[in-house]
């Protein structure tokens, strides 16, 4: 077995941390670097220690999700000695992932040309929102920004309403996956050439494939797509229908004329379905509003899960609209033991997303929860970099390493 990868993780928010989280799940030794003056902003907006000594910045569900299985250190990169220690870490690592804007990285000397001198084998992945070059490379973006710039927000939302940001800022997780893939590709390149490699990953460019059909509709036929809401260009019925109970919904799609007959059968073939116009997709599409009304009247009397099961049994595509609570009680996810329970000292046990992908012979495991701020300073600076206790004390006294974030700098 080769040594697991050692990864220096200079990232914050969602995209960067999830990229290295995947590598950590695969067994890499990931060292997450925060600064006393600049903790990961995903730790939350209410950072102060509470009156009863609670630490809200250790209790962010989002931060704790994407930083599991990592070691965490807090190192002041604004200080020359901090930057020196950072380079010492890079020297003994395989991969560096950094998602700060190009400008900030330059300021701290975190550039491939500099780091290559320290570690000629380094795989360095930087993932600025818009890429490392071009007239707008210094522009700022979050996941919702890059999602918009890839054209995805523009095609999301009701057919008669404004564009709608996606519920989960698709730009972030996709950039995370792209960065993880790029890092792994980089390790193959590193091995093949016995040399380091610097990879430039623009969030927006990595997102374009996820909107390929709409983009190609323009590049091939010159059309920009309209928003369709829950509807489909050719299938009908195709929508999201109310069910019994409060805010319970079922999504269903009739994909063919055969599906339509199965669907009517589940309904008990009421009279309104016997309209010959509905026998063809074209006819159903033309009468979509009318169909949706009929179907809604019927679904309102049904329990969503039971209706999904009946429709699926008849071969009709249908799925309940799962809320966060629904995810936790979904029988399929439970049968597949998808969700993980991870216990962190400051939060107790909670549910988190499981491992994707799943490996038959080397399954990922939870080795540790997301690190508390500066939790592994001693392990990394002492055991790994070989600093003495006195030296670490001195660094701590000078504020170069820390286990307490500085406030209120981060809310500014």
């Amino acid at each position: 077995m080769t040594q697991p990868l050692r990864v220096v993780d200079l990232t914050n928010g969602w995209a960067g941390p999830l990229a290295t989280c995947l590598l950590a799940d695969f067994g890499a030794e990931v060292i997450k670097v925060e600064s006393p003056s600049h903790m990961d902003w995903w730790r939350g907006a209410a950072p102060e220690v509470t009156e009863d000594g609670g630490r809200p910045y250790e209790q962010s569900p989002m931060f704790n999700t994407v930083n599991r299985n990592k070691y965490g250190i807090a190192l002041e990169l604004t200080h020359p000695r901090g930057r020196e220690l950072f380079r010492d870490l890079v020297r003994i690592s395989d991969v560096l992932v950094a998602n700060y804007p190009p400008r900030s990285l330059r300021k701290f000397g975190i550039e491939f040309d500099t780091l290559k001198a320290v570690n000629p084998q380094l795989v360095m992945v930087t993932l600025p929102a818009f890429g490392n070059s071009g007239p707008e490379s210094e522009y700022l973006g979050f996941g919702t920004t890059t999602e918009a710039m890839a054209g995805i927000t523009g095609v999301s939302g009701y057919e008669d309403g404004p564009p709608q940001m996606l519920s989960n800022a698709i730009g972030d997780p996709v950039s995370a996956l792209n960065a993880c893939f790029a890092a792994l590709v980089g390790t193959f390149e590193q091995e093949r050439r016995a040399a380091g490699v610097s990879i430039d990953l623009s969030h927006v460019e990595g997102l374009l494939p996820f909107n390929a059909a709409a983009l190609l509709e323009y590049t091939i036929n010159g059309r920009s797509q309209e928003r369709l809401g829950n509807r489909h260009p050719t299938m009908a019925p195709h929508g999201c229908y109310p069910c019994q109970g409060e805010d319970e919904w079922l999504t269903l799609a009739v994909t063919s004329d055969e599906d339509w007959r199965s669907f009517c059968h589940v309904l008990g073939n009421p009279e309104w379905t016997q309209n010959g116009q509905f026998d063809t997709a074209q006819g159903r599409k033309a009468a979509e509003d009318e169909l949706d009304q009929y179907i809604s009247v019927w679904t309102q009397e049904q329990e969503a899960t039971a209706l999904m099961e009946r429709l699926q049994e008849a071969g009709v595509a249908a799925g309940v609209v799962l809320s966060g609570a629904g995810v936790l009680s979904d029988p399929h996810l439970a049968a597949r033991e998808f969700l993980l329970t991870i216990e962190k000292e400051e939060t107790g046990p909670h549910f988190y997303p499981g491992f994707v992908p799943r490996f038959s012979d080397t399954p990922s495991v939870v080795r540790r929860p997301a690190p508390s701020f500066g939790k592994h300073n001693e392990r990394i600076f002492g055991s790994l970099l070989g600093l003495s206790k006195e030296e670490m004390q001195r660094l701590s006294d000078e504020g170069i390493i820390s286990t307490e974030p500085l406030f209120p700098a981060l809310t500014r």
């Binding site: 080769t2 995947l22 209410a46 989002m62 999700t65 994407v66 818009f130 707008e136 920004t145 054209g151 009701y158 404004p162 709608q164 519920s167 989960n168 698709i170 996956l177 960065a179 893939f181 093949r192 990879i199 990953l201 623009s202 460019e205 374009l208 494939p209 996820f210 390929a212 983009l215 190609l216 509709e217 590049t219 091939i220 059309r223 797509q225 489909h232 299938m235 929508g239 999201c240 109310p242 919904w249 079922l250 999504t251 799609a253 595509a317 799925g319 309940v320 799962l322 809320s323 966060g324 399929h332 597949r336 909670h350 997303p353 499981g354 994707v356 992908p357 799943r358 490996f359 038959s360």
Partner: protein, 404 residues
Amino acid sequence: MSLERALSGIRVIDLTHYIAGPYCTKLLGDYGAEVIKIEPPAGGEGGRTLPPFFDDQPEQEKSGLFCFLNTSKQSVAVDLTSQSGREVVLGLIERADVVVENFRPGTLERLGLGQEALRAVNPRVVSVAISNFGASGPYRDYRTTDSVAFALGSWTYPMGELDRPPVQPGGAFGQYLAGLYAAIGTLQAVRNRNATHAAQHVEVSIQEALIATSLYDFVAFSYSGFVRQRSGKQFHAAFPNLVTLPCADGYVGVHAGLPHQIVALLELIERPDLAGDPRFQNITTLALCAEELHGALIPWMRDRKKWDIYHAAQARGIPLSPIPSAQEVVEWVQLKERQAFIEVEGPGGGTVTIPGPPSRESEQPILRLRRAPRVGEHTTSVLGEKLGYSNADLQHLRAAGAIH
């Protein structure tokens, strides 16, 4: 195209169709893996029927989406339901590093190409399976569409207006997500295999891929019982500072996620009164000021154009974007300058402009890609070169309908 690339030397037998599987093998191929795509002789795989089409003609070799999803691949047309076709494929698998498939669970087993059969011919082969709900569990055989995947993947519930049904996200990205996860899993499994000589099976469920990327809801619910309600144009009920708003020529997206960015935005729109108001400087209290915030922004946006607003805001360090159409994305100067879109030929002639590979080596131009293949375009060359089949062998197999 003999240029050495990062994944050169990895041979992938591609038993995939439509989007999720082909996107996985495209990624591997675009970075240098040798991808041999196995397709049914009659018409090829289903992805060849996906819109948009060249000249709006839904004909064979005219799918633009197929052109995009199948760059860097060779096509070998084999009938997997015939005994000799199966043997051809097993022969290829014997000499491969990776097999990727996205059939419905159980299909390959029925065809005699299950994991055991693969291991029997090649104990070192990494097998990768992508499916809608995974190979186990009560939804295993459920039928799905993108809309159903988004619903059961928990992306739909928080989207839309409170007094209307939830609205699904646009596009088909659940399938792309799963393909990308599978490409990652493939590389990790090959790395392990290279180190330990032990191959393994890699599984990706589209539902799990969607849930693993939707963490604003169920993890928060686990912590606090919080259920996010639909909040229309806002990204999240608690974040009025992430919102789409109308402007003179369309819409802009406000993405001022951090307190100092909100202050800068209020200064930009010449509302120093609000910029100085402590309620607007803290994300928690800002959540209660949605109407005031939007009420201040909307009149200012109304007289200005989206790209002007974008540049003005970004010049002050405020994350803000236009909401571009497909045309505007393709024509956006930042992407043009970086040559993010590339041209490839279509298998039936013509050229198509597609997004280039997601990442690149710094300072390097974007990779040139081999165009998507015609059905069976490489049957003769691949079976001749890799398996040593003679012309007579090939003729025999053709006559039996096993290959084309």
